[in-house]
C-alpha cells in the first residue's frame, strides 16, 4: 500500500512518525507543513477544495454582483424550464432558481460547516476525554450520551423555539442597530439552529472517537509516552487524536449532508430561515414533491448539493491521507 503522497521525501517525517517524547515543539510545524505539501499534491483534493471555495464565493457575492433576487416573482410565468433569461429555470411562483440556490447556499453552507464544526469540537473532545480516562468518568459520560440520544428531538426543538423566541427577537433588534446587519433579519434564529443541531450531532462522533482512543491507548507508544510523564492533554491531543483522524474526518464529512437536510426539518418546526429565503434542504424537499412535473426544481438544487458534498469528501480524503503519518513512511 503506497499512497501517492507517500513518495514525498522529507527528512522530518521519520521523527514525527514515531513520536519521540523529547521532540521539540517546532517539529509540529513541520508535520503540518508536510501535510499541507502532500495535500497540494493530491489533485482530487485540490479540485474539491477549489470547487467548494468557488461555490462559497459564488453564494456570497454573485447575487449582489448580478442583482439576483430570491423573492422577485412572476406569477404568470410560474415554473419554467431553464432558458437564456433564467439559466436554471424558475420555481412555481416564477422566481429565479439560480438566485434561490445561491442564496440558499449561504444558509446551507454555513449550517453544514459551522454546525459540523460545533459537533466535531464537542464530539471529539468529549469522546477523547471519556475514552482516555475510562472507568467511572467514562461510564457517566456515556450514560449522558445515552440520555441525549433518547430525548425526543422534535419536542426539544419546539421548546427551544418557544422559550428563546423573545431573547432571539431582542438579539435581532440589537443586531439590526448595526449597519452591517441592518438587512439580515433572523440571525438569532440561525444561531439557535446551530445550537439545536450541535446538541444532537456530536453524539455519534463522541462514541466513535471514544472507541478509537480506547484502542490507541493500548498501543505501545502511548504507554511509552505516559511512562515518560507527558501531560494528559498533550498525550491526547498530540499523540492520540492524530492517529484517530481518519474516522474523524470521514464522520465529519458524513455529518455535513445530514445537518444540511436536518435544517429543512427544523425549518418545518419554525427554526432556521424564514420564507421566502430558501436553503438547499428546503429546495430539495420542495423539488422532490414536484419532480415529475418540474424536474429542474429537484435536479439543480440536488446537483449543487451533491457537488458540494463530493468536493468536501475528496478534500476530506485528501486531508486524511496528508495527515496519515504512517502511510507516509513508506
Amino acid at each position: 500500500m503506497s499512497s501517492r503522497s507517500g513518495s514525498t521525501p522529507s527528512s522530518s517525517l521519520n521523527n514525527s512518525a514515531a513520536p519521540s517524547p523529547a521532540e521539540p515543539p517546532e517539529r509540529g510545524h513541520s508535520l503540518w507543513s508536510d501535510a499541507w505539501h502532500r495535500l497540494r499534491q493530491n489533485r482530487l483534493a485540490v479540485a474539491g477544495g477549489c470547487l467548494v471555495a468557488a461555490l462559497a464565493l459564488a453564494c456570497a457575492f454573485a447575487p449582489g454582483i448580478f442583482h439576483l433576487s430570491y423573492e422577485e416573482n412572476n406569477l404568470d410565468l410560474g415554473a419554467a424550464p431553464p432558458s437564456a433569461q433564467h439559466w436554471l429555470g424558475t420555481d412555481t411562483l416564477g422566481r429565479d432558481l439560480l438566485a434561490r440556490i445561491l442564496y440558499g447556499g449561504r444558509i446551507s453552507m454555513m449550517v453544514g460547516l459551522v454546525a459540523t464544526f460545533v459537533a466535531l469540537t464537542i464530539g471529539v473532545t468529549y469522546g477523547a476525554v471519556a475514552g482516555y480516562f475510562g472507568g467511572k468518568l467514562d461510564a457517566l459520560m456515556m450514560r449522558i450520551v445515552d440520555i441525549i440520544y433518547s430525548l425526543p428531538f422534535t419536542i426539544f426543538v419546539i421548546l427551544l423555539v418557544v422559550m428563546l423566541k423573545d431573547p432571539m427577537g431582542k438579539f435581532d433588534n440589537w443586531l439590526a442597530g448595526y449597519a452591517f446587519f441592518a438587512n439580515s433579519r433572523g440571525v438569532g434564529k440561525v444561531l439557535l439552529l446551530f445550537a439545536a443541531i450541535g446538541a444532537v450531532e456530536w453524539l455519534t462522533m463522541a462514541r466513535i472517537v471514544r472507541s478509537q482512543i480506547m484502542a490507541i491507548k493500548k498501543m505501545e507508544y502511548i504507554e511509552a509516552a505516559r511512562s515518560l510523564g507527558l501531560g494528559r492533554a498533550r498525550i491526547i491531543f498530540r499523540h492520540m487524536l492524530p492517529n484517530a483522524l481518519g474516522p474523524i474526518v470521514v464522520y465529519a464529512t458524513l455529518t455535513i449532508p445530514s445537518v444540511m437536510l436536518l435544517e429543512s426539518f427544523l425549518s418545518f418546526l419554525g427554526l432556521g430561515v424564514d420564507a421566502p429565503m430558501s436553503s438547499w434542504g428546503t429546495l430539495i424537499k420542495d423539488g422532490s414533491e414536484k419532480m415529475e412535473e418540474f424536474w429542474w426544481l429537484l435536479v439543480f438544487p440536488g446537483l449543487t448539493f451533491s457537488l458540494t458534498l463530493f468536493s468536501l469528501n475528496f478534500l476530506g480524503d485528501g486531508l486524511r491521507d496528508a495527515l496519515d503519518i504512517r502511510a507516509a513512511k513508506d
Binding site: 423573492e71 422577485e72 416573482n73 406569477l75 404568470d76 410560474g78 412555481t92 411562483l93 416564477g94 419546539i158 423555539v161 418557544v162 433579519r185 425549518s267 418545518f268 418546526l269 419554525g270 424564514d274 420564507a275 421566502p276 420542495d286 414533491e289 414536484k290 415529475e292 412535473e293 418540474f294
Partner: protein
Amino acid sequence: MRFRPRSALLSVLCLLLTGVTAAAAVAKPQIWRVGNGVEPEDLDPQAVSGVGEQKVIMGLFEGLLTEDPHDLHPVPGVAEAWEVSADGLVYTFHLRANARWSDGTPLTAADFVASYQRMLTPKFAAEYSYLLWFVVGAEEFNAGRLTDFTQTGFKAVDARTLQVTLNHPTPYLLKIIASHIAWDVVPTRVIAKFGPLDRKQTGWTRAGNLVGNGPFVLKEWLPNQKIVLARNPNYWDAATVKLDGIEFYPTEDIATEERMFRTGQLDKTNELPVAKIDTYRKDYPDALHIEPWLGLYFYRCNVTRPPLTDKRVRQALALAIDRESLIKNVVRGDEQPAYAVSYPGTAGYTPTARLTGDLAKARQLLADAGYPGGRGCPAIELLYNTSQNHRAVAEAIQAMWRKNLGVEVSLVNQEWRVYLDTQHKTHDFQLERSGWIADYLDPHVFLEIWTTGNGNNDTLWSNAAYDRLGQSALAAKDDTERYALYQQMDAILVDECPVIPIYYYTRVYAMSPKVKGYWPTLLDNHPYKYIWLEN
C-alpha cells in the same frame, strides 16, 4: 388513465384468464377503495372530532335524518317522518318500524335518548357535545350543573317516537342532524358490555365488536393500513346499497396517495398535490375532480396590534390582493375568489356586500391611515402553519403587498399545534393564515364565529352592532328575516375587515371514471349507499 394490476405477474395471469372468466369479472364484488387522508382516531361517533373519522363513521352509523346525495338537504334516515311545533321549539321524530342495529335488534327512541345522555355525560368528555346544546338542559347537564337527564329536552314518547325540546328556535337544526355525526345513535346496550358507558377506551369499536346502524358494517381494521367495511344486511334501506364494501386507506402522504391511484390501488384519492393538477387536466381529465367546498381561506387580523388597529390599513391590505392571479397561478384548484366572508349560495343565501375598490383606493386608504406608500408603517408579521401551500400563498401575497402598497410583511411559520396555541391562547400574532370549513349547510356557520367572546373569533375584534344582529337572527321567525340580518352582518365584516377573505375552498381529488352515483356536494359528504362501480 391506466389501471393496471399490482404486478407484472398478475397482469400476465389476468391476460391468460380474461378470455375464460369474462363472465366472472362482471360478478366481481363492488369494492370501493378510497384514500381517507388520516388514520381515524376511533370509530365511536361520540368520541371523535375529525373529518377523517367522520368519513368512515358515515358508512357505519346513521342518524335521525340523512343527506340527499345531490344537494345534502335533510332526507329521512332512521326517522321516516318528523314535525316541528309552530313555535319552532318542539321536534317530534317518528322512527321507522324496520330500523334495526346491525346485529338485528330493533332500534328504538330509547336508544337515541341513551345515546344523547352518553354524549352529554360530563365524565365522558365528548368534544362535539356542544352541537346538542340547543336542547333544553343539555348544556347544563354537560357542564355538570344538572344531574337528572330526564329533565332535559330529550324524550322517548314511545318506542318509535322521539321528542326533542329546544331552548330557542334553531332554524338550521335539521341540517345539523342530517350532516353531523354528533347526532348519530350509538348502541349503548352493546357498549356497556365492553365497559362503563362513560369511558372511551373500551374497545367496542374494534372489528368484531362494533355494532352500528348504517349501510355498512366494520369488517376489518388494520391500524395505519386499511379499514374494510362490508354491506349491512340489516340496514333498513339495504336494497338501495350498491357497493359490497368500502376500503378506507389512511393516506397521510398525498404524494403517496396519488401514486397509489396511478397504480390502481385506489379508486379515489382524498386530495391531489397542487403540482399534479395541471398534469391531470392534460393527461387524465376524466379522473380529475374539482368541486366547490363550503370553506373560507382567510387572513385573520389581530386588531389590537398596530398598524392593524386601524381599519383603513386592514381594508387596504384586503384590497391589495390580486385574488384571481393567486388562484390561477398559486393555488390552482379553480377556487372562487372571496370578497366577503359568507359563502355565496349557502342554502339560498348570498352576501351582497363585497370588498370593492381598486389599488388606487387601497393606496389612498393606507395614506389616510398615515402611511403613504407604506412609509412609516410599523413592521407586520404574517404567521402561518408550516405547509408548502400556505407558504406559497403567503409568499405571493407578501410580494403583492410590497408591490401594490409598499408595505413590508415578514413571514413566520410555526408547527401546527404551536400555531393553534398562538391563535387561540396567546394571540401573539398580527396577521395569521386561517381556514374555516363548515360543519353543516347554513350561512350561520361563517357569521357566528365573529361575535364577541366566541372561542373561535381570535381577532380580539368586538362589535356591539354585530353581536346584536347575531342575537336577533337566532330569534328570527323565518329564513327571509334571518338572511336579511345576515346581510347586515356580512356588510359590517366587509367594512371592518377583522378578517381578510382570500378564497373559498374547493376539493381537488382524483377519482376513477368507473365510480358512479357520486355527486359534488358543498360539504364533501357523499352518502355511500348511492355509490356504485361500473365495470
